[in-house]
């Protein structure tokens, strides 16, 4: 009862409620559909703002002011009806006035999306459309080798790796960070000088037809498919549907100059004989040998006929071998020297929250919280197997966006974790925790499982839980809008 009253009270707390609404909008990138989905799923608005606070940007401030004005007007309207009922006997004035007053949280939670939708339809979309059309002309005219990088996971890492390696000998430009949709491609096209040798363009698929449209605009000459896994299943509905879209890149290129990560099991049904496959055994006819993995990174050599290139990378994990092998062999194919390639591989740095290792309280923490798919879990748990430690700890909240495959994916996740034999598994309590626990059981896990109600408290105090000799692998993130 106390909690119910608390949950209701938040609706009518002027300081908290409008900020909560704007926070939800900001967290969902001002996407009305995602925001409304979250709004209607939320049972306790006291527990919405947990992981971060509202970033008071200009847009956020404008929305807050708009909300305050709107709510104030609605409250005044309600009071006016009550006033008219009291002093002028307006029939139904009391009931209607009270209804107007108590309904303001629901009314304004929805009305706030109207300016967003309006601005998107009237201003943003037409502008973006024009820019995308213009970028298509720029890409078509550009003489560079244009490498499109698509896949359910590992795209940004592949692109950054290629950028590091190829930049040692070529003039390379790449789409920045994980800016990978059509509007980002358009901004990227505007920034090009026209003198680049190679363009690296990341394709961030979000729904059916995206990859095909990106290819038609960016006119790639080469395509890399980094893997296929359940992701964005709220739009694609199935992995097969996502695969159809991602492999439309190969259709665009008529199956020529296509490089596919064959370590991703779901790609198997889409692979054509003309495709070039890469994996930890090699790429483009080069054979990988002597793989060594530790907390400092990954090293191995590549051999083809009489030629051998030994590379050392700070990137962590066996799953990096395939992408590094492809980068090395593509660089060699594009005419770079062994020295340039070796220096390029050595200069590649892991991206933030992607298998980033750092020391804490004498132990090692591997931050892979950016990961969000089962293949990443496979790679992470394999890394845990490959590394030796006095105590191994695996920390995860589970995966978001798994659609209908939610239960199956998390059972598999539990099995994979069990297989890596950590001494301690820490699960952040949420809707998928029980599936992971069940998966751990199926996988015969014999270690300790700890379920954390307060993930932030655990993350912030991780240093108190670990010591020298410990390796902690933290995978996946669970933003507030999935809580």
């Amino acid at each position: 009862m106390k909690n119910f009253i608390k949950a209701i009270t938040v609706f009518y707390t002027p300081k908290t409620y409008p900020r909560t609404i704007v926070y939800m909008l900001q967290t969902t990138d001002y996407q009305p559909a995602a925001y409304l989905k979250w709004f209607w799923r939320t049972q306790n608005f006291n527990k919405v703002i947990v992981r971060r606070t509202l970033n008071e940007t200009k847009a956020a401030k404008q929305l807050l002011i708009g909300l305050y004005i709107g709510i104030t007007l609605q409250l005044l309207l309600g009071l006016l009806y009550i006033f008219l009922w009291h002093w002028h006997n307006l029939a139904g004035g009391l009931v209607f006035g009270v209804a107007v007053i108590i309904s303001y949280p629901i009314i304004w939670a929805h009305l706030i999306t109207v300016p967003l939708v309006g601005a998107r339809i009237l201003i943003v979309h037409p502008k973006e459309k024009a820019k995308i059309l213009a970028s298509g002309r720029i890409f078509k005219k550009h003489k560079a080798i244009k490498i499109a990088i698509a896949g359910s996971y590992g795209k940004t890492s592949m692109k950054e790796l290629l950028l590091a390696v190829l930049s040692e000998g070529k003039n390379v430009a790449a789409t920045p960070a994980n800016m990978n949709v059509a509007s980002s491609h358009a901004i990227f096209a505007e920034s090009l000088s026209g003198k680049e040798d190679i363009l690296l363009i990341e394709y961030g698929e979000g729904g059916p037809g995206d990859v095909k449209r990106f290819a038609q605009t960016t006119h790639p000459t080469h395509g890399i498919i980094t893997g296929l896994a359940p992701a964005h299943l709220d739009h694609y509905k199935s992995v097969e549907a996502a695969g159809e879209d991602i492999f439309s890149l190969a259709q665009y290129l008529k199956n020529k100059n296509i490089y596919v990560n064959s370590e991703s099991p779901s790609t198997e049904t889409f692979i054509q004989p003309e495709f070039n496959l890469y994996n930890q055994k090699g790429a483009l006819g080069w054979v990988v040998r002597d793989i060594k993995i530790n907390l400092k990174g990954t090293s191995f050599s590549l051999k083809k006929a009489n030629k051998e290139i030994a590379v050392k990378s700070t990137l962590l994990g066996r799953h990096q071998v395939g992408p590094i092998a492809l980068s090395v062999t593509l660089a060699e194919h594009f005419g770079m020297s062994s020295e340039q390639i070796i220096a390029g591989v050595a200069s590649a740095k892991s991206f933030e929250h992607r298998m980033q290792a750092y020391q804490l309280s004498g132990g090692w923490v591997i931050d892979d919280t950016y990961n969000g798919n089962i293949e990443g879990v496979r790679a992470g748990t394999q890394l845990l197997i490959d590394l030796s430690a006095k105590r191994k700890i695996y920390v995860t909240p589970g995966l978001v966006d798994q659609g209908k495959e939610n239960e199956g994916v998390h059972l598999e996740m539990g099995r994979l974790i069990a297989g890596s034999k950590p001494d301690l598994v820490v699960l952040m309590k949420n809707s998928v925790t029980d599936f992971i626990v069940k998966g751990l059981k199926f996988g015969g896990y014999k270690g300790t499982t700890r379920i954390e109600e307060n993930p932030l408290q655990f993350y912030n105090n991780l240093g108190d839980f670990i010591a020298s000799g410990d390796i902690v692998l933290m995978q996946n993130d669970w933003p507030d809008n999935y809580a």
Binding site: S361, G362, G363, D464, F465, A467, S468, D470
Partner: protein, 388 residues
């Protein structure tokens, strides 16, 4: 769920250090373990005891709001009835709350806490508590007494002279003559009972010695003057255990003889004195862990540390400081600290024991000792009274 009461603050020059030890190194990991209900008991500088959830917040002390808190709240009462129970009145004195304590975790540094005074109280209350008992705390916190016990047990110590505050105040010349007759300069002057290096100075001549004696006598009623060890490497060894001992790693403070290990270096500058480097927080980062010593010398110091811990009768946790002449490879016992600041968690981390594991082990050790003590007979029936 067991209830652990953490007692901190107190009538001591190390009052503030105690707050940090309690809040960051003990209460936080105890709560993170989710195995205990943790109660915070704060003792003010004038000796009043308070018990409240709010006392777990460092900002209360940093902001000075603790004064408002103590003005507005009633001190806690202690009930010794089948153990220790905390009893607190509400603001209007109407609602009383009480809590039975299973284990006490003393987080007191210096006088009226680490020196055995608190342990005596807890023994009287018949409650389990973490760390050294009354006798070992008393010995450990008396630098002169601990050296004399070490000598009696063939544990090497540096040459020293002792002086009382009265001697220093009334006839400092005699004290200086005694030092000149028995020791060579430079010497260290130390208050006998204080920890955290408070009041310690290094004297290279009579003038500095005079100043050092006056400073030390300001803090304590007994003063230790000891010879500096040549070719010095200072090491410290945290140890936990009752009968089976677990040493952490030998730690080597990165200080030169002229900027020895004082309070500022340890707690305020976050690193090597005068440079403020080497670590971001408190005592972390001003030392090498493990100490860089030849294997044999490392082993010798480790064994001496463990032997000293046993000799003094320490239990639970303590830290043994030693001085090494690297040329002669002589290792001297310097002093023993029954409650290392912040439990020396940074060293335990390096040794493979996390903060959470450390406090859990210490609570278990406290219960083990208490249970063993409860089996001892402390009374027996006689007809003594009938004879009168």
């Amino acid at each position: 769920m067991e209830t652990v009461a953490v007692i901190f603050g107190g009538r001591s020059a190390e009052h503030d250090v105690s707050i940090i030890t309690a809040l960051s190194a003990i209460i936080k990991p105890l709560e993170l373990s989710k195995k205990y209900r943790v109660e915070a008991i704060y003792i003010t500088k004038d000796g009043a005891w308070y018990w409240d959830e709010k006392l777990k917040d460092l900002d209360l002390y940093k902001s000075g709001k603790i004064k408002d808190f103590t003005r507005k709240n009633q001190p806690v009462s202690l009930k010794f009835e089948g153990g220790l129970t905390l009893v607190k009145s509400g603001r209007q004195g109407l609602r009383k709350s009480s809590r039975k304590i299973d284990v006490v975790f003393p987080a007191m540094h210096g006088t009226y806490g680490e020196d055995g005074a608190l342990m005596g109280l807890l023994d009287m209350a018949t409650v389990a508590y973490v760390g050294c008992d009354l006798a070992s705390s008393t010995i450990a916190m008396d630098k002169i007494l601990s050296k004399e016990i070490a000598i009696a047990n063939q544990i090497p110590v540096t040459k020293f002279v002792k002086a009382t505050r009265d001697e220093i105040n009334q006839d400092i010349e005699t004290v200086i003559k005694r030092v000149n007759a028995n020791l060579s300069y430079p010497v260290f002057v130390k208050p006998t009972h204080l920890g955290s290096s408070i009041g310690i100075s290094r004297a290279a001549n009579e003038t500095a010695l005079t100043n050092g004696l006056e400073v030390a006598a300001h803090y304590d009623d007994a003063v230790l003057i000891e010879e500096e060890v040549p070719n010095l490497v200072e090491v410290t060894l945290p140890i936990i255990g009752n009968d089976d001992l677990t040493p952490a790693l030998l730690e080597q403070p990165l200080t030169k003889p002229e900027d020895f290990f004082d309070f500022d270096t340890k707690y305020l500058r976050g690193g090597k004195k005068g440079k403020g480097q080497g670590g971001a927080k408190g005592s972390q980062g001003y030392s090498k862990i493990p100490a860089e010593l030849p294997k044999d010398l490392y082993k010798k110091a480790l064994e001496l540390g463990l032997r000293t811990y046993r000799t003094v009768g320490c239990q639970g946790i303590a830290r043994v400081d030693m001085l090494i002449d690297t040329k002669s490879t002589a290792v001297y016992f310097n002093e023993i600290n029954p409650l290392p600041g912040s439990l020396y968690a940074h060293n335990w981390h390096a040794a493979g024991i996390s903060s959470v594991e450390l406090v859990e082990r210490l609570v278990t050790l406290a219960k083990d000792r208490f249970n063993a003590q409860q089996k001892l007979a402390t009374t027996f029936d006689t007809n003594f009274l009938q004879q009168f």
